[in-house]
Each structure stands twice: as structure tokens, then as C-alpha cells.
């Protein structure tokens, strides 16, 4: 069964304190791994797609990396506006299968 596990469930950082969020996955064949950001009371917003091990993508203070078993979302010198829930999802290769989402990591950045 395809599965995505995110850790930690919640993370509290001081402004400027860099850290990483983890997304471990089990999938029959990986078509793509996706990161989303969700603000309270809103729908998730797409951030990155990673397709193969070794690939990296960057956007402002965020950098996503991918290995054969996990992905990391690195947050460098975070600001309070980076506070959100970050969701990871995988798309299996089998047919036209929808995304499998993790439960997310709730990030709080304190000024």
C-alpha cells in the first residue's frame, strides 16, 4: 500500500532558526513527489514537484530534496510568515492514480 509519513507533526522555531521537515514514503513506483503549503482556513497551495532521487528545488527560504525513500523540506532563516502547515504527497506510477497525502507538519515561526 502506498503511504506517506511526515515528521514532526508540529515544529516551533525562532525566527532565523533553520530546520528541516521530513517526508518518508512507500510507493510501488514514484511518478512524482509534491510539496504544498496550507495556511489556516485556506486550501493548500502547490510549492514543488520532485521527480527523481538527487533532485532539488528552491523557492525563497525553502529547498526541497529527494532520495529514494524520503524528501526533506529545508527552511533557511525562517520568518513568521513561513508559519503554515506543509503537506507532502506522492503520485504512484500505477495508472492514473491520485496523490497520496501525508498528514502534514504544522510549522510555527516565532519572532
Amino acid at each position: 500500500e502506498d503511504q506517506v509519513t511526515q515528521s514532526p507533526e508540529a515544529l516551533r522555531l525562532q525566527e532565523g532558526e533553520s530546520s528541516s521537515l521530513n517526508c518518508s514514503y512507500t510507493v510501488s513506483g514514484l511518478r512524482g513527489l509534491f510539496w504544498y503549503r496550507q495556511d489556516p482556513g485556506k486550501g493548500p497551495e502547490f510549492l514543488f514537484t520532485l521527480y527523481s532521487a538527487g533532485e532539488e528545488k528552491e523557492k525563497e527560504r525553502l529547498k526541497a530534496t529527494l532520495t529514494k525513500k524520503e524528501s526533506f523540506l529545508h527552511i533557511t532563516a525562517p520568518k513568521p510568515e513561513d508559519s503554515a502547515t506543509y503537506l507532502c504527497a506522492v503520485q504512484p506510477y500505477s495508472g492514473n492514480t491520485p496523490l497520496v497525502f501525508g498528514k502534514g507538519t504544522r510549522l510555527s515561526v516565532i519572532a
Partner: protein
């Protein structure tokens, strides 16, 4: 600008009522999805559609049905609402092919069933 619009942000319904949640996208996307999101359970897929008049069951279809008569519109129907269907409902769409996993979400519809 890309947009997925859900008809109601907040709804309050009574047990047993029929509830319609509407979703419209303006991006000519082939794929549309309905999720519900609950604390501690994450996003759970209810139904999805890869084409007009086509529908597929997701992980938790019981108690729900859907309709996709036009490409841009995907409706979620609760035939007889129950209290355990109180939740945040999220609609999403995506294009086909290699970017099918890049979902665009609506703002959500928060449904309370009393």
C-alpha cells in the same frame, strides 16, 4: 490567474438534509477532485474525475455522490447529511499529463451538520 471557486465558504445544515457543494475551475483542467480535511486525519479523497461525465471513488466515498456534467464544474452531493460529515471540504483541479499532480485548490467549504 488560476482559480478554483467553491460556492459556499460556510454552511450549516440539519441531519437528513440534502447538501450540494459546487466547485468551478476556469483553467480548462481535465482532472477534478473532492477531499475532506479533519484534524488529525489529514486530507482524504472522496471522489475524483478525469473527464466530463466520468467519476471514480476515492478512499471514503460512502455517503457522498458527485456530478460532472461540464468540464469546469464538479459537484459534491451529500444525499442525507449526518453529523459525522461535519468537516472542511476542499475541491481541487489539475491538468492532465506530467503535471497532473500539481493540484490547484479552492478556499474550502466548512460544513457543519447539526
Amino acid at each position: 490567474d488560476v482559480k478554483v471557486t467553491q460556492s459556499s465558504r460556510y454552511l450549516v445544515k440539519r441531519t437528513g438534509e440534502k447538501v450540494f457543494l459546487e466547485c468551478v475551475q476556469d483553467m480548462d483542467h481535465e482532472n477534478m477532485f473532492w477531499y475532506r480535511q479533519d484534524p488529525g486525519l489529514g486530507l482524504r479523497l472522496i471522489y475524483f474525475s478525469y473527464d466530463v461525465k466520468m467519476k471514480e471513488k476515492g478512499d471514503i466515498p460512502e455517503g457522498y455522490s458527485v456530478s460532472r456534467e461540464k468540464k469546469e464544474r464538479f459537484s459534491l452531493i451529500l444525499e442525507s447529511a449526518s453529523t459525522n460529515q461535519t468537516s472542511m471540504y476542499l475541491c481541487a483541479s489539475s491538468t492532465g499529463g506530467g503535471r497532473a499532480g500539481e493540484l490547484f485548490f479552492g478556499e474550502g467549504s466548512r460544513l457543519t451538520v447539526l
